[in-house]
């Protein structure tokens, strides 16, 4: 197996993720949420959508799908694991990333291209970028508002990967589309191998679609999976 793109009932970005990865010369396979063996996977993508209808709470049911034990095992052993949008929500619910995602500040779905600034290159999503790079990526979510409780004494500060900003790179309340804590758009675990990102890099991979800025992010991910010995 190569990269596993996990499909829950209600997932809808699996084909887009697979298409974008293929465009970068990588190979990904769709894996149903009842599969419980991902051995051989060099990377895991939890794509966007509405896993289990987002019922109860976004990601709350998905986190108990049979496949998640395997996702957790691989993630904990350092296999590159990328959650996009709904996948980010699931990673938080599963406790693989800190924090949680709640309804957008304005209580409306947001579909528009946003600018994000690279905050750290120490992650499987940003290793091919430079700190301060500005990228145009489509945002598409209702529960995209990332909340992170104030750091408890002694807790490590979060590994922020991307922040929402304006076209000059400035962040702040005005440029924050959904109310996320500290304008966080993507966050990683301490090792940088588990990443959750709210905007959709797979939707910005071709000129004809309006932006190719998602390519460098997915290229970072693909190259991280290339070094995994499955």
């Amino acid at each position: 197996m190569t990269i596993a793109v996990v499909v829950f009932p209600g997932t809808n970005c699996e084909h887009d993720a697979r298409y974008a990865l293929a465009l970068l010369g990588s190979h990904a396979e769709l894996v149903w949420h009842r599969d419980d063996d991902l051995s051989g996977a060099t990377g895991v993508v939890l794509p966007g959508g509405f896993a289990h209808g987002d019922y109860l709470r976004t990601g709350a049911i998905a986190r108990f799908s049979p496949v998640m034990a395997e996702v957790e095992r691989l993630a904990r052993q350092g296999t590159p694991t990328l959650g996009i949008c709904n996948g980010f929500q699931i990673l938080c619910e599963a406790g693989l990333l800190p924090g949680a995602l709640v309804a957008n500040r304005d209580l409306r779905f947001i579909c528009r291209t946003v600018t994000v600034r690279v905050e750290s290159t120490d992650s499987i999503l940003t290793s091919h970028t430079s700190v301060g790079d500005l990228l145009q990526i489509p945002l598409n979510s209702y529960e995209g508002n990332y909340v992170l409780p104030a750091a408890i004494d002694g807790a490590p500060s979060p590994n922020v990967v991307l922040r929402y900003c304006d076209s000059s790179g400035a962040s702040g309340k005005q440029m924050n589309p959904n109310g996320s804590t500290d304008s966080i758009a993507a966050v990683a675990d301490a090792n940088g191998t588990i990443v959750g990102v709210m905007p959709h890099p797979e939707r910005a991979v071709e000129d004809i679609l309006g932006s190719t800025d998602g390519r460098v992010l997915l290229e970072s991910f693909v190259s991280a999976t290339a070094s995994v010995v499955a």
Binding site: G10, F50, I110, C111, N140, I208, L209
Partner: protein
């Protein structure tokens, strides 16, 4: 008389004559379940009884039409084995009663019409009409409808690429919520609804059947509204996009593996409609076992189960040896399935409950023997007064002041408050997103593109139903042409008032004449449609509001299709097409500045339209910006280009009147080229650049200040 005192058939929305017709047909009094079936299947919504005699005027015999009107969706050939399926529907009354669920289930229903044909639904559009937003109830309706569309469309995973919106007082108590869907498939995936094969099994897939939506088609969609009709809220269905998403994937897998003989979605009239349609269309009969239906709650009567409009259900006809495979695929996608019927050689649809025969009717009679009314029609007297007067337009117009007022209109201002709530980028097909004249989608792995525009113009249609309706078609054609796509097929949603009013019926006959004529002029087939009558509340009919969904097709698609944001400093601004000829009837100027609606809109010449459209399609391969001049005239068209591109402009020698004139068949082109290679009339009127909207002697406005007004027109009203 309260509703409880009426005889059964009247309570179900059936007239005494129609009831007698059922008795004649069966040779006896109908059983309860049978009466329920006829009442829904013979309702206006299902049977098109008032409109059918007029629908024959639409042509659909062009060679690229694969499936014309009559199936769940129209299908056209895109070459190389690719087919597109398209369909438009309304959910007007349910959305008035319960805006969120009404609009949501409208989306669910149209998607099923598309994947019933074998196609994957790939995009949605939502043409909407509401009353003025200064009324809080209208704001509530707009907010609920948009959240319903977003909630269902986003979650089911089909992008919504736009639509359009109008606001007028006549829609206050009767909003219009139309929805169009587009699907894509390879030829071998096409499935039709006609059942065949005695002994084949009918498998009901998807949601459990509950008590929701009983009588939705007959009671909600086929009757006028009166005060106190909130009691109809239980007739509105409740949608579950998650169930629909699983159902889409399961059905597409069934088609891929060739496991279904025929399939029919369950919409209006639920099981009674689906079973009778699939059997009737195939000239077959069916035995249905009501006890086999998976239900949401115990104690439902056979009539309730037959009539329930519970959402997210499909009926597949399967050969006996494939039943196990079908059930296994349903199980894999985690949807319920039950074997509820067997195909017989007919002609009867027989329904059994607890071993008892509860209904036995000729399957085809539910659809084919429905009444047809050639309702009387009569030219309305209101027209004389309207045509005898003209909009008052001064010779000198204060352009800045006028444009400020127009840009602040919610139907002219930026509509991204609506479109940004819809996922419009899923599936990586969206080349031109909402906010342009037409949407453009690519077909991955090919050079083909599909453009769609939905258009309606109820005010002009009210002033002259024939011309108004025809102009919608030409406008829609131009909207797809500016993306480089040839107008290729059309679906229409005919929203009208009470057909028993001869004046409304006249509007319908005239408007359909206009639509048919315009389509004929452009050689565009009408591959499907929907009629929504009884849009009348407390005796007030809506403005006649035919809405069209135009599919354009291009192969190849332009490498860089025109976009409003490609306008740059120094580019020349050209006006292409007809010269302005004082067309202010039904214009934004008359509506917003004068507060009146009068006069007679101009007619369109078919040959002129054809020539312009063909030229525009050609230009779309070279010219960076092409923008149709429509609501608000040239002034608004230029302002939109400036707002989206961030570049100001200066035009000269265009009078104030000319700037707001809404003469049809005009397009703005913006390019660096010294001339435009086109045979149609063209005139250079200005240059892009600067931070002003400059109208020469007629005045100027600061770009960013004007943009703020435009951008806030809708949000400020919805805050």
């Amino acid at each position: 008389m309260t509703i409880q005192d009426k005889p059964d058939h009247q309570r179900l929305g059936m007239t005494d004559d129609e009831y007698d017709a059922v008795i004649d047909l069966l040779g006896r009094t109908p059983r309860t379940a049978e009466l329920a079936m006829y009442s829904v299947m013979w309702s206006e919504h299902c049977s098109y009884k008032s409109s059918r005699v007029h629908l024959g005027k639409f042509r659909s015999d062009q060679p690229w039409v694969v499936v014309g009107p009559g199936e769940n969706a129209g299908v056209v050939d895109l070459g190389d084995g690719w087919l597109a399926a398209l369909r438009i529907e309304s959910h007007n009354h349910p959305s008035f009663v319960e805006p969120h669920e009404g609009a949501a289930t409208g989306v669910g229903g149209i998607l099923r019409d598309i994947f019933t044909m074998g196609a994957r639904p790939i995009a949605l559009w939502d043409p909407l009409r509401f009353g003025p937003l200064d009324d809080p109830h209208n704001r509530y309706l707009l907010d609920g409808v948009v959240s319903g569309i977003a909630g269902y469309g986003n979650a089911v995973g089909v992008p919504t690429l736009g639509g359009e919106v109008e606001f007028a007082d006549r829609f206050s108590r009767n909003p219009l919520v139309n929805v169009m869907a587009l699907g894509l498939m390879k030829r071998e995936q096409l499935v039709l609804s006609a059942a065949s094969g005695v002994g084949n099994i009918a498998v009901l897939l998807g949601n459990a059947t509950g008590r929701d939506g009983i009588g939705g088609a007959s009671i909600l969609a086929s009757a006028s509204f009166e005060a106190g009709d909130e009691e109809k809220r239980p007739n509105v269905q409740v949608g579950d996009p998650f169930e629909e998403k699983k159902l889409i994937e399961a059905c597409l897998e069934l088609y891929d593996r060739g496991l279904v003989v025929a399939i029919q979605d369950l919409g209006a009239a639920g099981i009674s409609c689906a079973t009778s349609e699939t059997a009737g269309n195939g000239g077959m009969g069916m035995d249905v076992d009501i006890d086999a239906v998976h239900v949401r709650e115990p104690g439902m009567t056979p009539g309730e189960i037959l009539m329930s409009e519970s959402q997210e259900r499909m009926l597949a006809i399967v050969t006996p040896e494939h039943v196990e495979d079908v059930l296994a695929i349903a199980a894999r996608w985690e949807i319920d399935a039950s074997q509820i019927g067997t195909i017989t050689d007919g002609p009867d649809l027989r329904v059994f409950a607890e071993g008892r025969l509860v209904a036995e009717v000729p399957a085809a009679s539910l659809a084919d023997d429905a009444p047809r009314y050639d309702r009387p029609y009569e030219r309305p007297c209101y027209l004389n007064a309207l045509w005898d007067s003209e909009p008052a337009i001064p010779d000198e117009i204060d352009v800045a002041k006028t444009l400020n007022l127009l840009l602040d209109d919610p139907a002219i201002g930026d509509r991204s408050w609506i479109s940004s709530q819809y996922d419009h980028t899923l599936f990586l097909n969206t080349v031109i997103e909402p906010g342009h004249d037409g949407s453009l989608l690519r077909i991955k792995g090919t050079h083909k593109g599909m453009a769609v525009s939905t258009d309606g113009d109820s005010l002009r249609t009210y002033l002259d139903p024939r011309r108004g309706a025809a102009r919608i078609v030409f406008e829609s054609a131009l909207n797809v042409a500016v993306t480089g796509a040839q107008p290729y097929a059309l679906v229409d949603n005919l929203n009208f008032g009470n057909p028993e009013n001869p004046e409304v019926m006249w509007q319908f006959v005239e408007a359909t004449d206009g639509l048919a004529w315009a389509c004929e002029e452009l050689n565009v087939p009408v591959v499907g449609g929907n009629v929504s009558f009884y849009n009348q509340t407390d005796g007030v009919d809506i403005y006649p509001a035919p809405v069209v969904g135009m599919l354009g097709f291009c192969d190849p698609m332009p490498d860089r299709p025109p976009r409003l944001d490609r306008a740059e400093q120094g580019m020349g601004i050209w006006l292409i097409g007809q010269e302005a000829s004082d067309d202010f009837s039904g214009s934004a100027y008359d509506r917003i500045i004068n507060g009146t609606l009068r006069g007679r809109p101009l007619d369109v010449d078919g040959a002129t339209a054809r020539e312009l459209i063909a030229s525009v399609v050609e230009m779309a391969f070279d010219v960076p910006v092409l923008h149709d001049v429509s609501v608000g005239g040239l002034a608004v068209a230029l302002a939109e280009i400036a707002f989206v591109s961030g570049t100001g402009f200066r035009v000269d020698d265009v009078s104030g009147r000319e700037l707001f004139d809404e003469t049809p068949l005009r397009v703005v082109a913006i390019t660096h080229e010294r001339d435009l290679e086109t045979s149609v009339p063209r005139r250079r009127i200005g240059t892009m650049g600067g931070d002003q909207l400059g109208f020469g002697a007629a005045g100027s406005m600061d770009l960013s200040a004007a943009r703020r007004i435009w951008a806030d027109a809708l949000p400020r009203r919805m805050r």
